[in-house]
């Protein structure tokens, strides 16, 4: 419980500071709003948790987001109905994920290189479709999709996140598939020698990653009402920070989704608090960068703390 406990304390601290700083913080309106503004990042963070636990990484998520958004805009502009276009974009996400999975599981290239290449490649494909333009062609119902409250004050996008969250928790903590994800992260060889279908698990994870990234792209377009080639640029920073801060080891095999939930809240509240204090977006990004680096030191800090404890309490 150690790390999650620490995160809880930090979270409460941030909530206190934020509430103190601005009365608007705790209002329902602000809370809903701050989640809506980042829903794309947090749904990707869920699948990224699986991927990093699996000792892999997907750097192409934000670019797939952009690609899906561009494809959406391009298709709607060319006359496709919006609903059909949405379906096709989700398929694009699956295909993109499968593409990544191919190079990783069959050609056996490191996921770092593959997804770094696709970070460039997917973004590029998006630019091929809509070049430098910004497209604003969506029907009003689409633009309201993200904003309009459906269940109480919660709009569709938040509901989607909550559903995905529950699914993620159940799968990771309670199912056999989730356990396979952990084992592969601990040691791919042990998993293989124990009869686990490693390639299948990885393929599923990367395809889902593509799918969720595409979904995020669609939600982002709905929220903004338009698409551009550079949407989501740099999102992977926040996403990976959320996962690592949550206690997931970059080397795989260790960490839990509960920690990631807490760290998602921490990152979102931190950003919100900074916004309410009129800190610019750029400084916020810098702060997140620092947090990312500190998060990666967590295993070291943990073992350092443990060694101090052991020395103190050894017989």
């Amino acid at each position: 419980m150690g790390w999650e406990g620490f995160l809880l304390v930090v979270l409460l601290l941030i909530i206190c500071v934020n509430s103190f700083n601005s009365l608007a913080f705790l209002t329902v309106e602000n809370q809903v709003n701050l989640f809506v503004l980042s829903v794309e990042k947090i749904i990707i963070a869920l699948i990224m948790t699986f991927i990093i636990l699996n000792a892999e990484i997907d750097l192409s998520v934000a670019s797939m987001m952009g690609l899906a958004a561009c494809a959406l805009g391009w298709m709607v502009e060319s006359g496709t109905s919006t609903s059909t276009a949405i379906g096709l974009c989700l398929i694009i996400g699956l295909v993109g994920g499968a593409f990544n999975a191919y190079w990783i599981t069959i050609v056996k290239l490191p996921s770092l290189v593959v997804t770094l290449a696709m970070l460039i490649g997917f973004r590029g494909l998006g630019r091929v479709l809509i070049e430098d333009r910004s497209i604003r062609v969506f029907p009003p119902w689409f633009e309201n999709l993200g904003q309009q409250p459906i269940l109480g004050p919660l709009p569709l996008s938040i509901l989607i996140f909550l559903v995905l969250l529950v699914i993620a928790v159940v799968i990771l903590q309670y199912t056999g598939f989730g356990r396979y994800v952990y084992v592969i992260g601990i040691s791919q060889e042990v998993a293989t020698y124990s009869g686990v279908r490693v390639a299948r698990v990885k393929t599923i994870l990367f395809m889902v990653s593509g799918l969720i990234s595409a979904l995020a792209g669609i939600l982002f377009s709905a929220r903004l009402g338009s698409v551009r080639g550079d949407m989501g640029l740099g999102f992977e920073l926040d996403i990976i920070t959320m996962v690592l801060l949550g206690g997931v080891s970059i080397f795989g095999g260790a960490g839990s989704i509960y920690g990631v939930i807490l760290s998602i809240l921490i990152v979102l509240y931190l950003r919100n608090g900074m916004s309410l204090s009129n800190v610019t977006g750029h400084i916020q990004t810098g702060v997140i960068g620092v947090i990312l680096i500190l998060s990666a030191m967590i295993p070291n800090i943990k073992s350092w703390l443990e060694s101090i404890f052991d020395k103190k309490y050894a017989p």
Binding site: I57, W103, V107, K108, L109, P110, L112, V113, V114, L116, A117, M118, L119, I120, G121, F122, R123, G124, L125, R127, V128, E131, G234, E236, L237, I240, L244, I250, F251, T280, H282, I283, T285, G286, I288, G289, V290, L292, I293, S295, A296, M297, N300
Partner: protein
């Protein structure tokens, strides 16, 4: 042919393949584009390659130790802006000082990365992902969203990109290109002939063995990041000279291109093997392709990134498959005698 190939080291083989590819690309485009092969092509490509090549060399040093530096783009942007600003306020600064300033600032930023990676044991991918953001933020804050304008810069700086060392008709050997060549030669020799350079390879090849052998691994990794930052700073200076106007988005995406050049150039992403020459040829190939594709009207410039991504994948895949086969074959030929 096979006998010859078997005598040549894998790294050299890669360099030869790259030279061949560059030749093929030139021939191909010469056939497709009228008036392609002329002095202007050489001048333009050589100047733009100079910038990316210097950066790629820095990235090579880091990748050889089994690390990566994704913050180089931000370092380039920051140093370009910083030096540009200093020169704008004070046109009297000596050229040499300006260059050293760029290198120094870059080295400092690289050193920051190096300390976190080498001494705090944070994986390089994470550190540099973080500093990529951090340094960019630094740039934005420092610049206060002001642009460095050409009008304020000293004339020598603006003339710099056109400064020639040699000319033959319209074919110019620019000073910037000479700088690049100097860096290439310096580091190629450094890595081949200095014991420090050899240790760089050793650390990437087998980090555990390197520690067991008592190498000052941490110090070496720190220095590799320092040098990478320094070269990124130099790149920043060249960038400033070339473009004059520096905004807060200067250098975005450079890290990816430097990794692409390194990977295409045959440097193993896991470290331990590859050469400066290879990385330079990789940078040349990529830049050549980009410059040529734009002029080949059938391909819009927007395909550039998509193709670049594909190029990286195929080079690493080819490396992985072919080089393994070639190395195995090579190793078998030199197997110890068994009776």
């Amino acid at each position: 042919m096979v006998k010859y190939l078997s005598q040549v080291r894998p790294e050299k083989q890669r360099e030869l393949v790259l030279l061949l590819l560059i030749l093929l690309v030139v021939i191909f485009f010469a056939m497709m584009i009228p008036n392609y092969l002329n002095a202007r092509l050489f001048n333009r490509v050589s100047t733009s390659v100079a910038i990316m090549a210097v950066l790629a060399i820095g990235q090579t040093l880091v990748v050889l130790t089994r690390n990566i530096d994704l913050s180089v783009g931000s370092i380039v942007g920051f140093t370009a802006y910083f030096v540009g600003q200093q020169l704008s306020h004070n046109n009297e600064i000596e050229p040499m000082v300006a260059v050293l300033m760029a290198i120094g600032v870059g080295a400092l930023m690289g050193g920051f990365n190096g300390i976190l990676v080498a001494y705090c044991r944070v994986p390089a991918i994470i550190v540099t992902l973080g500093t990529m953001a951090l340094f960019r933020t630094l740039l934005v804050e420092y610049s206060d969203a002001q642009t460095v304008l050409t009008v304020n810069l000293p004339q020598w700086l603006l003339d710099f990109p056109r400064l020639n060392v040699l000319s033959h008709g319209r074919l110019h050997l620019r000073f910037v290109v000479v700088i690049m060549l100097a860096v290439v030669v310096l580091f190629q020799l450094f890595l081949r002939f200095s014991s420090f350079g050899r240790k760089l390879y050793a650390i990437g090849s087998n980090p555990e063995a390197a520690n067991n052998a008592g190498f000052p691994t941490q110090r070496i990794v720190l220095i590799s990041f320092l040098l990478c930052g320094a070269l990124a700073g130099l790149t920043g200076f060249l960038f400033l000279a070339r473009f004059g106007n520096i905004t807060v988005v200067a250098g975005i995406g450079f890290e990816l291109k430097s990794v692409a050049a390194v990977v295409v150039g045959g440097v193993n992403i896991f470290g331990g093997s590859g050469s400066i020459l290879g990385a330079t040829l990789g940078a040349i190939l990529i830049d050549l392709l980009e410059n040529s594709l734009i002029r080949w009207l059938q391909i819009s410039e927007f395909w550039r990134d998509a193709l670049l991504g594909l190029l990286i994948l195929t080079s690493v895949a080819t490396d992985s498959i072919f080089m393994k086969r070639i190395r195995l074959y090579w190793a078998k030929r030199h197997a110890p005698s068994t009776s």
